[in-house]
């Protein structure tokens, strides 16, 4: 037996009320109690979003935040059955709809992307990679931690309190985010050349000497000794912090 159109409509009306606050007539409903459903639903949504976006929450006024959450939940149909993915859908909603708040806060997209990246990386499935810790950073082929992502930003939301960021701060910023052995997320700011280093290591394990050559080809330059030292310094730090997982087994 199919669900009757009327029953379906009542269910849709109740769900719609929870999302929008607009209550249609539903027979038998206790109007004084039904408000609790909207409160409960919106409390869950607000709580999850505040936890995922603490910097955004601090940046916006209370009215702006409440309005953003209300717009999002009433206009957007949340697709994921897993509630912890909902913040990703908020970020996509703001970007896709070119939300009005972006005019007042041009950095908002970057801030949401930055904050969601931390959650997404923290929660992401484990990705095994074949590697060994026995090797020499200067001579062995380096294996990148596959639990990483590269990001390009227009505002330094990783460096400064969002409320202190000014229009003149706008310029390209590049970040690597990776998950270390303890599961913590570490962001590393990168130069364009170091982005290419990571991109080459994404393709395959490579030694520092090979990386020098690849960078020289990419940029059509001859690396100076200072450039070599800068790359070595970066890779040493990346190894210590777990962005470089180890070395390719022989």
């Amino acid at each position: 037996m199919q669900l009757l159109k009327q029953t379906r409509q009542y269910q849709s009306d109740l769900a719609g009320y929870c999302r929008t606050g607009i209550l249609q007539h539903i027979p038998g409903i206790h109007t004084s109690n039904v408000v609790h459903y909207r409160k409960l639903v919106m409390n869950v949504v607000d709580d999850i979003l505040q936890n995922a976006y603490p910097l955004t929450y601090d940046l916006l006024s209370e009215t702006e935040w409440d309005s953003l959450v209300a717009d999002f939940f009433s206009e957007h149909s949340c697709k994921s059955p897993q509630v912890w993915y909902m913040p990703k859908e908020l970020m996509e909603y703001v970007i896709d709809t070119d939300h009005a708040l972006l005019k007042q806060y041009p950095l908002l997209c970057n801030l949401l992307q930055f904050e969601w990246m931390e959650t997404a990386m923290f929660m992401m499935q484990d990705i095994p990679v074949v590697h060994t810790r026995n090797g020499d950073l200067l001579f062995s082929k380096l294996v990148l931690n596959p639990e990483h992502r590269l990001m390009a930003l227009d505002y330094p939301v990783h460096r400064k309190n969002p409320s202190a960021i000014k229009p003149e701060d706008q310029q390209p910023y590049y970040l690597a985010a990776h998950r270390d052995e303890e599961g913590q997320i570490i962001f590393t700011e990168l130069s364009p050349a170091l982005v290419r280093v990571i991109e080459h290591l994404q393709e395959r394990a490579a030694s520092i000497q090979e990386l020098y050559q690849l960078i020289e080809q990419d940029f059509g330059i001859q690396l100076a000794e200072a450039d070599h030292l800068a790359i070595i310094h970066f890779l040493q730090q990346a190894y210590r912090e777990g962005l470089i997982k180890g070395f390719s087994p022989a």
């Binding site: 269910q11 719609g16 929870c18 913590q184």
Partner: protein, 276 residues
């Protein structure tokens, strides 16, 4: 056996001390599917020590929308991977018009809804190749009711041929909110189908309304109803203590588990003597 809802909020303290000693743990698959890193390690530590019961949130068995078989396939894989003892879900809907609401809304008590929900439960059971336990949810308003709540539930259980997750606190909450007798309600249920019991606290927000918060300790009248339920059942059923918010010290949770275990043990002894 009395278990505890395993929460990330107290995971570390739970795993690093022996204050809390449940017989099993329960999780919502939705909160752990596809999760790696720190939480996966913690979860696996818990799985090494305790049997797992699962209690879904997002299947939306009462939804007018199509069942999400991709999600169900993920749940099935999760149940297999974790060796879960059972899978339970709510007699409610959490998705409508292709939008998840992340909360449990009451299904209209209508005959067409009974058929619709029973058919969906059967489909889920076929897909998972196992029976599932369906939980009676607490509700704060009926929606276009044609049937009584007890008729609605019993008919679904019968037509779906599924098991019942009896949340004793929910029955207490519903009896208070909708002015009926909780013990009589439980007596009218098809108790042969009870596979699992939930116990929790709630919050009374007015003279006429209780909200099922899982954020307070269980109150004495709910313990009494629990005892009455066990007497009616006359058999051992796994019991879960749910505490989702306002998490107290581990000692307080263990005290609740101990009290539930003691009630259960006493009732089972009395029942055994009566039979002997």
């Amino acid at each position: 056996m009395v278990g505890i809802g395993y929460r990330k909020d107290f995971s570390e303290e739970f795993l690093n001390s022996d204050i809390l000693s449940p017989a099993f743990i329960e999780v919502a698959p939705e909160n752990w599917l596809g999760v790696g890193g720190y939480w996966k390690k913690q979860f696996h530590q818990a799985l090494e020590r305790y049997p797992l019961f699962t209690h879904g949130l997002s299947l939306s068995i009462g939804s007018p929308d199509e069942l999400d078989f991709q999600f169900l396939a993920n749940v099935k894989a999760f149940l297999k991977e974790t060796g879960a003892v059972l899978y339970s879900e709510h007699l409610s809907y959490a998705k409508c018009d292709n939008a998840h609401l992340y909360d449990l809304l009451p299904i209209p008590f209508t005959e067409d809804a009974v058929k619709h929900v029973a058919e969906r439960i059967r489909k889920v059971q076929d897909f998972l190749e196992q029976k599932i336990a369906i939980e009676i949810v607490s509700y704060y308003t009926p929606v276009a009711p044609e049937l009584t709540e007890i008729n609605f539930i019993n008919t679904i259980l019968q037509e779906a041929d599924c098991e019942l997750l009896l949340d004793v606190n929910n029955v207490y909450v519903n009896a208070f909110n909708h002015r009926y007798h909780a013990k009589q309600f439980i007596e009218q249920l098809d108790l042969n189908r009870v596979r699992y019991i939930h116990m929790a606290g709630h919050e009374q927000v007015s003279d006429s309304l209780i909200i099922d918060t899982h954020g307070e300790a269980i109150i004495d009248p709910v313990y009494d109803l629990f005892e009455h339920t066990l007497e009616l059942l006359g058999r051992d059923v796994p019991v879960l203590l749910e505490r989702d918010f306002n998490i107290p010290e581990m000692e307080a949770l263990q005290a609740e588990i101990s009290r539930l275990s003691a009630i259960k043990e006493n009732v089972l002894k009395r029942t055994a003597h009566a039979i002997a």
